[in-house]
């Protein structure tokens, strides 16, 4: 087992940009979307996107590992 690959780590940083560091940009009530305040809607959206990012990171890691084991 080796440490996480760089592309996989980069994908993992995306949810941090979306849900954490960018808070001043999305912490607003309007526009309300689907009846939800914008900040609540944004976080719900990013929960789903984060799951997607993890799926992508998982594919990168599995491919990375396969490559590593076939070429010793």
């Amino acid at each position: 087992m080796r440490r996480p690959s760089l592309p996989a780590v980069a994908v993992g940083l995306i949810p941090f940009l979306g849900m954490c560091f960018s808070v001043p940009l999305w912490d607003r009530v309007s526009p309300m979307i689907l009846g939800l305040p914008f900040n609540l809607f944004w976080l719900i959206l990013w929960i789903v996107l984060s799951s997607g990012c993890m799926a992508l990171a998982n594919r990168i890691e599995e491919r990375h590992k396969k490559k590593g084991s076939t070429t010793p």
Binding site: F16, V23, V29, N39, I47, S50, S51, M54
Partner: protein, 490 residues
Amino acid sequence: MTPAIVAMSVIFSIVFVGSAVGFRAGKGRQMNLEEWSIAGRSFGLLFMWLLMAGEIYTTFAFLGASGWAYSRGGPALYIMAYITLGYVISFYILPYIWELGRRHGLQTQSDFFEKRYRSRALALLVSFFGVLFVIPYLQIQLTGLGIIVQVASFDQIPRSVSMLIAVTLVALFVYFGGMRAVAWVSVLKDLLMILAALTIGIYIPIHYFGGVSPLFHTLAATHPTHLVMPGATKTMGHAWFISTVLLSACGFYMWPHTFGAAFTAKSGRILRRNAIVTPLYTLSLAFILIAGFAAVLLVPGLTNGDVSLLMLARKTFPAWFLGVIGGAGALTAMVPAAIILLTASTLFAKNVYRPLFAPQMSEDGIARLAKTMVLILALTSFGLALHSSTTLVALLLLGYAGVTQFFPGVVFGLFWSRVTAVGVTCGLLAGLATAAALMLSHRDPFHGINAGFLALLLNFAITILISLLTPRQPNPLPLAAEEETTTTAY
């Protein structure tokens, strides 16, 4: 029958069924320490998911999150962000912890520190503080149970009596059931919790306002600042949000029990795939937050926000359904409390008591001592819960400020070969001291930034600096070890 009796009998039936399910699961298996504490390293994807959700979605998520949406407003959103990002971080550390655990027979967080840094003192420090910081977490669960029984019994059963009942049930359950039993109850608990969250979050806005949209339009009109940060607080703005989310996400798997859960998995891949599905579970929190926001308009003027969800449910639903919600809440308190008790007591027996007082103790002896510790820890947190009046979120933030100080030692231990035991120990002590000093002198948030996060930054800086200043230390747990051994073997 009065509504109180109806609600209470439903709650007790749910708790009873839950415990019965758990006891059945543990029957017929030989209960050695490894089976009792980490279920013999046998959990697959589904069970893992249930166990992890079981320990994360606690009474805190149920009552604390809605309580903060009610009393603080916008800052409560930090909970959705930090849980999701905690899972993201888990993807990058848990599979490695699991792999090292399998290779070197690690069972607890402290085993990791001891084997990685070859330092008894550091391992002892980590176990001691791990057990210490888990106590507020345990207290959250008992306080939550107390609130549930108090509200559902229409204030006829006092909180102290209900907490005593709860703590007895939890201790007995852990004592006889073990980790496998706990994971099974998680199944029932999660189903009920999702049912309760959806019903509350969807039905209440429709029933009172005609939908989610009118609810939030009304709230935005009457309480224009409540829905954004800093909400009803003065100090919890964006800097607080970022620092608290980072602190809590880093600390998510640093609790002795969440860290230990990694060892119960069947493979490292399962933990990675787990990180893809678990964030979706956080969606149920949105419904709980919506209920908390609705409570601002519907049950205003409560002094303790933590009761808001249940007061709203009591006002809205028939007694039997209040019982279902209460039962779901009771299980969401009991499952995590059981997991915490199990891990903390194993940790204490194996990593604090044995090295200090009885180096020759056998595994069976540890198992017996751990079971005694279950009772002692349960009673301690019961005593604290009786006398404390802090809110659930405040207790959680206190625990997080503490356990997150293990993060540099874990991450560097996995990925940085230059890190040294002295460096990690100094960083850990500096972090703990800073967090304690700022929080005990009531300077949290410190200039708008979470005090625990500042302590974590200092911890990182000192760990790096001292590690570089001390002589290089061999890494007994290298990640690539197995590849090397297999290539030499073939």
